[in-house]
């Protein structure tokens, strides 16, 4: 007999705003995801290497290490080079969006978060 085991996808949420983390957790709780969080870019990189998530949602404006810096750090490491990263930020200006793409993000989402849009982008990045 073959036992079919389904594994939840793991998503790392990186944001210094507890309010944003709370909302993202509420939205993503609807899906088959295991969620882990980090409060800034530095912790985000550390958690990404330790947890090896399937997807990372990353804020841009954060203390210690901002989202662009953290993203470049992730892209420089072989363990996280291929991990999809969605930047979730209040910074919707074209220059910031461009910097996000140049840093290697997989997608870009502006706050306030639209739950439907977030779920669609997450599913798209996870190929589900």
């Amino acid at each position: 007999m073959t036992i079919k085991r389904t594994m939840n996808k793991k998503i790392l949420l990186v944001d210094h705003s507890q309010t944003s983390l709370f909302l993202e957790r509420m939205i993503l709780r609807q899906g088959p995801y295991d969620l882990v969080t980090a409060a800034d870019g530095e912790e985000g990189v550390r958690e990404a290497l330790a947890q090896r998530p399937d997807l990372i949602l990353m804020d841009v404006v954060m203390p210690r290490m901002n989202g662009f810096q953290a993203l470049r750090e992730l892209r420089a490491r072989p363990e996280t080079r291929q991990t999809p990263v969605i930047l979730v930020t209040t910074r919707g200006e074209p220059a910031n969006v461009e910097e996000g793409w140049e840093s290697g993000c997989s997608d870009y989402l502006t706050k306030p978060i639209d739950p439907e849009e977030l779920l669609t982008k997450v599913k798209s990045c996870l190929g589900a």
Binding site: S17, Q18, T19, S20, F22, L23, M26, I27, T90, G92, E93, T110, K111, P112, I113, D114, P115, E116
Partner: protein, 238 residues
């Protein structure tokens, strides 16, 4: 099995018309053929009627599906709004630490409303004046007290009614572009004001859902800030 379509229904109806036409055009003496056409017609009629009924049902189901899709979209929209309200209230009432409540308020305005330029004023002193207790994203920081009745912020304190700019942000008495000004209330009494200056560029304007959240903030931020003051007094007196 092939699914019946509108084209199939039309084809059946056309076949029926063709049989009627052929039957009418048949010359006298072709009774056997006329009989065969009639038999064919008799077999076809129930199918035409059944196809018409199915087509009507399909149209009705499609209408129902459209209605359900609209209801689902509305339910999702309301769900998103409720989630946003829940997060805001949870953050505001999750602590009695004044700094944490003000930080939560700043995060709510930025993350849920799309505004990073804001200020919170509280009525302090006798006679009471509006003193800024939190400013974010505006430089130089507001330091001056505002007397009730002065400018839009001062007027909102007197009227107790929120003011929302109809179009673009409107310059207040100090020239700062104001988008919304909401009275903070405890038991119906105004205790302060939440002022939103320019919204994030991509946000554009406040939506009906944002106004609902602002209404909630008016009550819950006022109460949460009041609770922190009571906590501070209790801590000092003990």
């Amino acid at each position: 099995m092939k699914r019946a379509t509108l084209d199939d229904t039309l084809a059946l109806a056309e076949a029926l018309e063709r049989i009627d036409r052929l039957s009418a055009e048949l010359p006298a003496g072709r009774d056997p053929l006329r009989g065969e056409l009639q038999a064919l017609r008799d077999r076809l009629v129930p199918h035409v009627e059944s196809a018409a009924v199915l087509h009507g049902e399909l149209a009705s189901r499609e209408l129902e599906l459209k209605r359900l899709e609209e209801a689902l979209a509305e339910a999702r929209r309301r769900g998103a709004e409720t989630a946003s309200h829940y997060v805001a209230m949870h953050r505001l009432h999750g602590t009695l630490d004044r700094g944490q409540v003000l930080l939560a308020l700043e995060e709510i305005v930025a993350s849920l409303l799309g505004c990073e330029e804001m200020a919170v004023f509280e009525l302090i002193g006798t006679p009471p004046v509006l003193m800024p207790v939190l400013t974010a994203g505006i430089a130089p920081s507001i330091r001056d007290a505002i007397r009730p009745g002065v400018g839009m912020i001062g007027q909102v304190v007197v009227s107790g009614v929120a003011w929302i700019a109809e179009g673009e942000a409107w310059p207040d008495h100090d020239g700062r572009p104001l988008t919304a000004c909401v009275p903070l209330k405890v038991d119906g009494a105004v205790t302060g004001v939440l002022a939103l200056y320019r919204l994030l560029e991509h946000k554009g304007r406040l939506l009906p859902a944002d106004l609902e959240l602002l209404d909630i903030l008016g009550t819950h931020a006022g109460t949460a800030l009041c609770a922190t003051r009571l906590r501070m007094r209790t801590a000092w007196s003990s």
